[in-house]
């Protein structure tokens, strides 16, 4: 009796990895999924920090895909190790601060290590040649296989027929004739295959599954590096870049102004780490302060907070300043800053 071959599939939560996995499962391979958490992952409930998004279903796409496929999913936190990929990408960035090729190499490398640790035989991905301008090109496919050190144990079922035969195909674990030759950005072949395989629903993350592909997010990250004078970050930094209005009145400090109740609740958890402002005479936003503002800066910051409060049209708004959480609060009575007095270039977006 031949050995039961086993593959691990990189599950992003999107359609392509779901299809690639199903195609290989249908060839009798035991497949388990792996999903890497980088800190930059776009998830339904990351958006749902905002109360206005509460009606959206808050499901994790990769877990949902695993359930549809009936496979185990291993979610691995690589957010600390991933910093090196973001800060020093050997192959550079894409359109924004997205190090897609280095990211793919790293994830395949980790998946291959997981295979070796757990007696699995090969790795599969949902990559399609020509689908992504940075990482999914014909010339980058061998680079990923080589630099991840997985070599010919990396199988891309959706575009395998455009690529050199891999070990699972040569050994007959997988029938190459039943793999595919998809290429380019046209998604019709994937939709047709989904229908053929009986899938009627799948996740379609707008703008991809990573915040680093988002221009506004990348601008905020770059601004943070520029203002600090060093390219580094903590996981809490990159979480806060996902919420609030980011307003920088000066290089040495920035305001993160919550936009509604959901963000307010989320940002409350960060009060022990930042000084902050909040209006007391009117309803309004919790505002975290990143940096080292002077007393005069705090007065101006309070006026900005007042502008985003329900007292924006009032003559005066009372705003409390808390330098240290649970410490004494400074009561500031300020005139809300008119919208036209806030320069456009204070807004980071």
């Amino acid at each position: 009796m031949s050995k039961q071959r086993k593959a691990v599939s990189l599950i992003s939560g999107g359609l392509d990895s779901m299809l690639a996995t199903k195609v290989i499962q249908d060839q009798g391979i035991h497949v388990e999924g792996i999903n890497f958490y980088t800190g930059f992952c776009v998830e339904g409930h990351t958006h749902a920090i905002r109360k206005k998004d509460k009606e959206k279903e808050k499901k994790n796409s990769s877990l949902w895909v695993a359930e549809q496929l009936g496979i185990k999913l291993h979610i691995i936190d690589i957010s600390e190790e991933y910093k090196d990929i973001v800060l020093n990408p050997k192959h550079g960035y894409g359109q924004n601060l997205n190090p897609c090729l280095d990211c793919k190499i790293d994830m395949v490398s980790r998946a291959w290590q997981w295979c070796m640790d757990n007696d699995f035989d090969f790795v599969i991905t949902g990559e399609v040649i020509g689908q992504r301008p940075k990482s999914q090109r014909k010339e980058t496919m061998p680079i990923i296989a080589r630099e991840s050190k997985i070599e010919d144990r990396l199988l891309r079922p959706l575009c395998a027929k455009h690529l050199t035969e891999t070990l699972p195909e040569r050994e007959g674990w997988v029938n190459r004739d039943e793999l595919f030759d998809f290429h380019g950005r046209n998604r019709k072949p994937q939709f047709a295959l989904a229908k053929q395989l009986g899938f009627s629903e799948w996740s379609q993350p707008a703008g991809g599954c990573c915040f680093l592909t988002d221009e506004s997010y990348s601008n905020k990250l770059q601004d943070m590096w520029d203002s600090r004078g060093e390219r580094n970050y903590e996981v809490d930094d990159i979480m806060l870049l996902k919420v609030g209005r980011h307003i920088r009145p000066a290089k040495h400090f920035k305001l993160i102004v919550s936009r509604e109740q959901g963000e307010n609740n989320f940002m409350r958890g960060y009060r022990p780490m930042y000084s902050y402002l909040y209006p007391t005479s009117h309803g309004g936003p919790l505002t975290l302060i990143d940096g080292t503002p002077s007393e005069e800066d705090i007065q101006n910051a309070a006026r900005v907070v007042a502008r985003f409060s329900q007292g924006r049209d009032a003559d005066e708004v009372v705003v409390n300043y808390v330098q240290k959480h649970n410490g004494p609060e400074q009561v500031l009575t300020v005139k809300p800053m008119p919208a036209e007095e806030i320069p456009d270039d204070w807004y980071i977006h």
């Binding site: 998830e43 409930h45 877990l63 695993a66 359930e67 496979i71």
Partner: protein
């Protein structure tokens, strides 16, 4: 059977799922784990993770500020 607790308050998904996964890796068959969370996403994700790994979801409870999820560990 031993009862264990996990504090996953103020963490956003998927971190509570990852912490649950890692905690359960160290537990024995039949052990119970009670996870305390605040992210509403955990109400979907932790039960989904239990389903794909074959663990038993004993209960979920949602209070005003907190979600409490109890899991029975099933290991072959």
């Amino acid at each position: 059977m031993n009862q264990h607790e996990l504090n996953a308050r103020n963490l956003l998904c998927p971190i509570p799922v990852i912490r649950t996964q890692n905690k359960i890796a160290s537990l024995e068959n039949g052990d119970h784990l009670v996870v305390y969370c605040t992210d509403p996403g955990t109400l979907h994700d932790i039960p989904a993770w239990c389903r794909v790994h074959g663990h038993t979801l004993v209960s979920t409870e949602e209070n005003r500020d907190e979600i409490i999820i109890e899991i029975e560990v099933v290991k072959e």
